[in-house]
């Protein structure tokens, strides 16, 4: 069984369907040279990502903020003013808000995984349900939203990292639900997801907030039993 370079790389890029993926994994088990080539491909991905990650993690330089400023009104204000504004300005505000905050204001906001509450972003729908009920230890491998780390923040709140197809991030439990502390673009819409993948910015934010280490399975289950208090 020969795996060509394009197939091997598509495997590393998470582009193969389940059957093709299994075939590569079987071949890897029989062929150490292939397994080593896959490891090299993964190292290259990591090397490139490490090189450019700082740009995605740095705060947005002021020159871009200034560009986006005029239409970039706070979400709550934009929503209140939505009816009064002429359409192009609503679009500009929506686009700018998306560029700056990573969310789309307007209709999509209330049907997606995120809603606004008092100007802050909170999880809703399937995302809120996953944060409420799902345990990292027992979640199905094909869960739409996967929970990563659960931990207690130094502020005392319980926080969880999550990854879904459209959005990944870090949410902390407060009285009104799960407040989104940090969000990033979701995982790619492919069948193959690397087990330990996660946005490095979000993991770094989680680590910075953590009091002690992440919860183990027992602590996570106990936290759920106590309503994430």
């Amino acid at each position: 069984m020969t795996i060509d370079a394009a197939t091997r790389m598509a495997y590393v890029d998470g582009e193969l369907d389940e059957i093709a993926r299994r075939r590569v994994e079987r071949a890897m088990a029989e062929d150490p040279a292939l397994a080593e080539a896959v490891a090299r491909d993964r190292r290259l991905r990591a090397t490139l990502q490490d090189r450019f990650a700082p740009y995605a993690e740095q705060p947005v330089p002021d020159r871009f903020k200034a560009l986006l400023d005029p239409p970039a009104v706070p979400i709550a204000t934009a929503r209140r003013r939505a009816r009064a504004l002429p359409r192009p300005w609503i679009q500009a505000a929506a686009l700018a808000a998306t560029l700056v905050f990573g969310v789309v204001i307007g209709q999509q906001l209330d049907t997606g995984p995120v809603a606004t509450r008092g100007g802050a972003l909170v999880a809703q729908g399937r995302l809120a349900a996953a944060l409420d009920t799902q345990l990292a230890a027992t979640q199905p491998s094909d869960a739409a939203v996967r929970i990563g780390l659960t931990f207690r923040a130094r502020s005392g709140r319980i926080c969880r990292t999550f990854a879904g197809p459209a959005l990944q991030g870090l949410a902390c439990r407060d009285d009104g639900g799960w407040a989104l502390v940090n969000t990033a673009r979701g995982e790619r819409e492919t069948a193959y997801r690397q087990a330990s993948s996660g946005d490095p910015g979000i993991l770094a934010a989680a680590q910075a907030m953590m009091a002690g280490g992440p919860f183990d399975a027992a602590a996570e289950a106990e936290a759920r039993a106590h309503g994430w208090r």
Binding site: L48, R51, F52, V60, R63, F64, L95, T98, Q108, R188
Partner: protein, 154 residues
């Protein structure tokens, strides 16, 4: 947040902080101007990166060919010289940059979209306006060249 990702893509295309930030600024300006052509519900990241890539091709690459350079970013910019020097000082970063510099543009942009930005092949092929097979072979050749340049030849 899209702007940090746009900057990252701009840096991997231009491999220069000053050029990358200029590219990023031009992209945001054009995106805001062309906002009418973006359809809500479609992927904003793909749309803006397509704009960025087109600007890169139309203007920046042409300028580079004529050996002209962008006006350097103003002093006091939040990504200043200190950050630049720090980046350049790191030997490992330098090594990766040199390896990337050996790639033809068409391979580098494919690598940037898939390996750095994490786009699916389908989305990346759409941004670059090429068939999936072409994208796949550019990814293979680009990666093989990078590994060779990094001393990880297969």
């Amino acid at each position: 947040m899209l702007v940090p990702r746009l900057r990252r893509f701009a840096m991997s295309l231009s491999r220069s902080e000053a050029d990358g930030d200029d590219l990023c600024q031009a992209t945001i300006e054009r995106a805001l101007k062309a906002r009418g052509s973006w359809q809500q519900g479609t992927r904003l990241d793909s749309w803006t990166m397509t704009i960025m890539r087109n600007i890169w091709i139309d203007e920046v690459r042409a300028r580079t060919r004529r050996a002209e350079t962008f006006v350097p970013a103003e002093a006091g910019d939040s990504v200043g010289d200190a950050g630049h020097r720090r980046m350049e000082a790191a030997v490992e970063l330098d090594r990766v940059d040199r390896a990337l510099a050996t790639l033809p543009d068409e391979q580098r942009e494919a690598i940037a979209l898939v390996l750095i930005e994490g786009f699916a092949y389908k989305e990346a092929a759409k941004i670059l306006d090429i068939p999936m097979g072409t994208l796949s072979s550019r990814l293979v050749r680009g990666r093989e060249a990078l590994m060779q340049a990094l001393g990880e030849a297969a």
